[in-house]
């Protein structure tokens, strides 16, 4: 399983992409990722969702789950991010096995320098 958390907008517009793979985790923690993804409802909740009103400088989220050849992306704003998903993100952020990429507002420009 691979989980990708993309965060954009915010006060500066930076795009942070955080990825974690179950096969990068120690064996005893491998199932924890899928259990946490299930607990957050990412595999079952209807989507994609999007906010009706944008508030200034709120973060926008795109959460992608890839597992067993299937992929699913759900989008949220700070205003409708479920608390269970927030807890999942905090857990991913706490794992040393995660990979982070930070890009400027709008993502990396053509040519790539970021």
């Amino acid at each position: 399983m691979r989980l990708t958390v993309e965060r954009g907008g915010g006060i500066a517009g930076f795009v942070t992409t955080t990825t974690i793979r179950s096969d990068a985790l120690p064996p005893e923690d491998e199932h924890e990722l899928s259990e946490r993804v299930s607990a957050a409802g990412l595999l079952t909740m209807p989507g994609p969702s999007a906010p009706s009103v944008r508030q200034p400088d709120e973060l926008l989220y795109a959460i992608s789950v890839e597992a067993e050849g299937q992929a699913r992306t759900l989008r949220f704003s700070e205003a409708n991010l479920p608390e269970e998903v927030r807890r999942l993100i905090a857990w991913v952020d706490s794992r040393p096995e995660r990979e982070d990429r930070i890009e400027p507002p709008g993502g990396a420009p053509p040519g790539g320098a970021a």
Partner: protein, 370 residues
């Protein structure tokens, strides 16, 4: 807790319509299903209750979930002596807002720097608007300013959520720990989103969104300039200096030299470099580039203020303030903002005067006017 419990403090304005005793869920249903007048009355009653007011999260959530115009809050009397309050949301998320009350208006400093910094920065911004432009709080009617610090875990953002300020702690991956409350211009930027919310109401999308961002940067910078006693020439014109981790860059934006604040800064300073991005829910597209194209009106303000000279908040700032609060609407674009500031400069400081010429010249230099 009874909804009929009322704040015993004397009120300066007329009393709100007499409230009725009803459980919050009934009021919520009325707010959702009633006709417009019933909705307004239900929301006023919910919000006017002293006991409910401390549970502002409920009011905020209701207003947002029901898409109620946040300006409805302006109908509510501000309790006397409660200009601002700082809360600690203790690393929890949205549903826990505002959190535990830590410092009310006039209270002494506490042992949490984030609380004190949010308090001081809010006070400084409040005083700026009141003393310079005679505006009483973000709504112009003395609305109590609520701030919550320690939002979520290592959260890399600070924002105005439509009813209050929210500050994260920073993760040290993108933002430095404690950076948001340390930066007076960031606090003033966010509170200015509140002012915009109650006035022009610029939608947070493409050009109106970039203008919304630009007005927040302009007044964010002006609050800092006035605090430091800097003239337009002395000011650094940076927003959020020292908030990013050092390897990413020195500041979030430069009004004077858009595109130079950090490595990879794509802000344009001229219309020929305007960045077209779609306004979708994709986090990469920043609501249609609102933090990118704001560089163009930002530079126009800086050029106008420098050409006029002196303290930027006195003349250029007054022109931009009147434009934002009295003239623009929710779908105003760059051209309308430019033409309006030129008109307002003439009305305030004389038709054909040096101020008006400076404003017109600035918008021409960034390619918005020809």
């Amino acid at each position: 807790m009874r909804l009929a419990d009322r704040d015993p403090a004397p009120k300066s304005g007329p009393s709100p319509p007499c409230c009725f005793i009803a459980p919050p869920d009934l009021l919520a249903r009325v707010a959702e299903e009633g006709d417009p007048e019933e909705q307004k009355a239900a929301i006023r009653t919910l919000a006017a209750s002293a006991s409910i007011r401390t549970q502002r999260s409920l009011v905020t959530r209701l207003m947002r979930e029901l898409d109620v115009d946040v300006r409805t809050l302006a109908l509510i009397d501000a309790p006397a002596g409660e200009r601002q309050t700082v809360y600690d949301v203790e690393n929890q998320g949205r549903s826990a807002l505002p959190g535990e009350r830590r410092r009310g208006h006039g209270d002494p400093a506490v042992d949490d720097p984030a609380v004190n910094e949010a308090y001081d920065g809010t006070a400084e911004t409040y005083d700026f608007y009141r003393e310079v432009y005679e505006r009483d709080s973000v709504d112009g009617q003395g609305m109590e300013l609520i701030s919550s610090v320690h939002y979520s875990v290592d959260f890399d953002n600070a924002f105005w959520n439509g009813a209050q300020m929210v500050y994260g702690d920073g993760s040290e991956r993108l933002f430095q720990k404690g950076a948001f409350t340390r930066a007076l211009d960031v606090i003033a930027h966010e509170l200015t989103h509140g002012v915009t919310n109650f006035t022009a109401g610029l939608v947070y999308s493409v050009q109106p969104g970039a203008l919304n961002e630009s007005f927040s940067d302009v007044f964010g910078s002006l609050v800092k300039q006035r605090h430091l006693g800097h003239t337009a020439d002395e000011a650094d014109w940076l927003i959020g200096e020292g908030t990013l981790v050092p390897r990413l860059g020195r500041a979030l934006r430069s009004l004077k030299e858009p595109g130079t604040a950090f490595s990879g800064d794509r802000q344009p300073g001229h219309m020929r470099d305007y960045v077209e991005l779609p306004d979708d829910a994709d986090p990469r597209n920043d609501n249609g580039g609102v933090h990118i194209n704001s560089g163009i009106p930002n530079r126009a303000f800086q050029l106008a203020a420098s050409a006029i000279g002196g303290n930027a908040w006195e003349k250029a700032g007054r022109i931009w303030f009147a434009t934002l609060t009295d003239r623009l609407g929710q779908n105003s674009d760059f051209e309308e903002a430019a033409a309006t500031t030129v008109s307002v400069a003439g009305e305030l400081f004389g038709q054909g005067g040096s101020e008006q010429q400076a404003v017109e010249g600035a918008w021409k230099e960034v390619g918005v006017l020809s």
